[in-house]
Symmetry: C2
């Protein structure tokens, strides 16, 4: 069994109303990998970094059971860099800098040792890169989860549709679901998007939680944890995806009911990520802290249901 993660490993520079960082460790692959490490035994990672990627960040990834054999280091190249500033309400942000650097010419290569992949998490990336990974696997994984964003709808619609067609679970946010489907109602949007290929759709609503839909019109809703303070939302969606796929990889149960639980674990981890800058909180989490947060989620959603006569 292995979980294969495809996603950026990057530098982020973040400003929020609470402070700002220098260049710190970021990237979808990083957050997904760290989050899933609380469940999965081993994660194989496919990504690309520059020569400027420091040993200390490599160590953080390795400390979280990430196998970096599939992470290409481009000699003389610079690591993908994103700089952003969050607005006061933390729900919107301005991108100040995007330097693709080594990501601009990334051709993923799946190492032979990764061919045992049972669970594949395609983090947000050019859909052509996501497809290239999938096509290099000799055996189709049991579960393929794909994250994407509006940017790819704008510039690579056909390639995006081609990739979406091949996956089991698609995760996007509410505005993206509306854009992708042309429907305002998320119920109608989900129904339409599920005709594009995926068996399951997760619509992420940020501080308003997440919805899981299947093709049989089942719908599950998990809230986001109401928090005292959101310190830095960066990586919340990727952490959610990592917790989700990591939980499924550990429990090996792909039923709708187990996906509900996976969403709660993903949400719990995401709610921890946003309490500190970058990976500061999520990278060194005790099992107790995680379990306490999951228990808080249980308290938040659990209701003893009784139908009236």
């Amino acid at each position: 069994m292995s979980l294969l993660i495809v996603g950026t490993v990057a530098f982020d520079k973040i400003e929020t109303p609470f402070g700002k960082t220098e260049k710190i460790l970021g990237g979808a692959g990083t957050y997904i990998g760290i989050a899933s490490s609380y469940f999965a035994d081993k994660m194989n990672v496919i990504s690309v970094i520059g020569e400027d990627f420091p040993e200390k960040y490599r160590t953080i990834l390795k400390d979280h059971k990430m196998n970096l054999d599939g992470v290409q280091e481009v000699i003389g190249g610079k690591t993908f860099f994103w700089e952003g500033k969050y607005h006061k309400d933390m729900n919107s942000r301005d991108t100040l800098t995007t330097e693709l650097n080594v990501l601009a010419d990334f051709h993923p290569v799946v190492p032979e040792s990764y061919q045992d992949c049972e669970f594949l998490m395609l983090g947000n990336l050019d859909p052509r890169v996501q497809s290239k990974v999938l096509s290099q696997l000799n055996t189709r994984p049991k579960l393929v989860v794909m994250d994407t964003m509006d940017f790819w709808m704008d510039i690579a619609w056909d390639a995006l549709m081609d990739t979406i067609r091949k996956v089991d679970v698609l995760t996007i946010n509410d505005e993206e679901a509306r854009q992708m489907s042309g429907e305002y109602s998320l119920v109608k949007a989900a129904r339409k998007i599920l005709t594009f290929g995926p068996k399951y759709l997760i619509i992420k609503k940020g501080e308003h939680g997440a919805l899981l839909f299947d093709k049989q019109s089942h719908c599950y809703f998990a809230p986001a944890m109401p928090l005292e303070a959101v310190f830095d939302p960066t990586g919340a969606g990727d952490t959610f995806a990592g917790g989700f796929v990591g939980y499924l990889a550990k429990t090996k149960d792909l039923s709708f009911d187990n996906m509900k639980r996976a969403i709660i674990y993903g949400s719990a981890l995401a709610s921890l990520t946003v309490e500190k800058f970058g990976t500061d909180q999520i990278a060194y989490l005790s099992q107790d802290t995680l379990n306490q947060r999951v228990e808080s989620f249980r308290d938040l959603v659990e209701v003893d249901f009784q139908l009236l006569d």
Copy 2:
């Protein structure tokens, strides 16, 4: 036992992207009363109407077990009238007309026959009017639920605080909770508002659900039902409140756990209200339709929780 409802009985004229109405039956008291009629045996209503209020609307209220002895009819007066137009996303609206009419000089009088009140629902009204009802009751009800809105914060803050101090459950929306507390985080907002007097706070988030807080930092979240189409959001919050207090009046259990169930029934009813104009859907609902919607809510939120080792 009786449930006493204080709230407007009004005319609404509504325009949404799906159509528009003439003057139809509206008002907080109307929606609260209709919603609670699915649970409570009898509701005593305190309100005010003009001579223009038609018999057919009286019949609708009476058909829903509402006792109108406490509804003053002002001879020569005109009933409160509100006209509004919803924007395309249905989350915001413009008020085109507000004619207070008989509401402008409303002095509520509690009839002697209403003194058996055990449950009191104070619909959104001038907080001085809300207080006047409470002060006329010889025995304090077991439960006092109060709804309010930002308008009263703007023009009658002191009176509002004076009324809030006396109630058990306060319901407001998320923006109002932020305004009332000066806190952006709803967790911090709730903690602060609960120091103003109420034992419980319900923060209504519209299409994003509702949060219930108590003074011991318990927090419960109920989603709103994801719908194919929201046809007319008018009265959703009042329907929610009516379902909530009606369920509690029927079950007579004021525990936090039962309030969770009450919120789900309120949410189920609110999700039905918005599917048609005005009271069209909620006024003539079969028990089967309501139960089916509650079951859909159960499917939406129910998760079989298991903590990992």
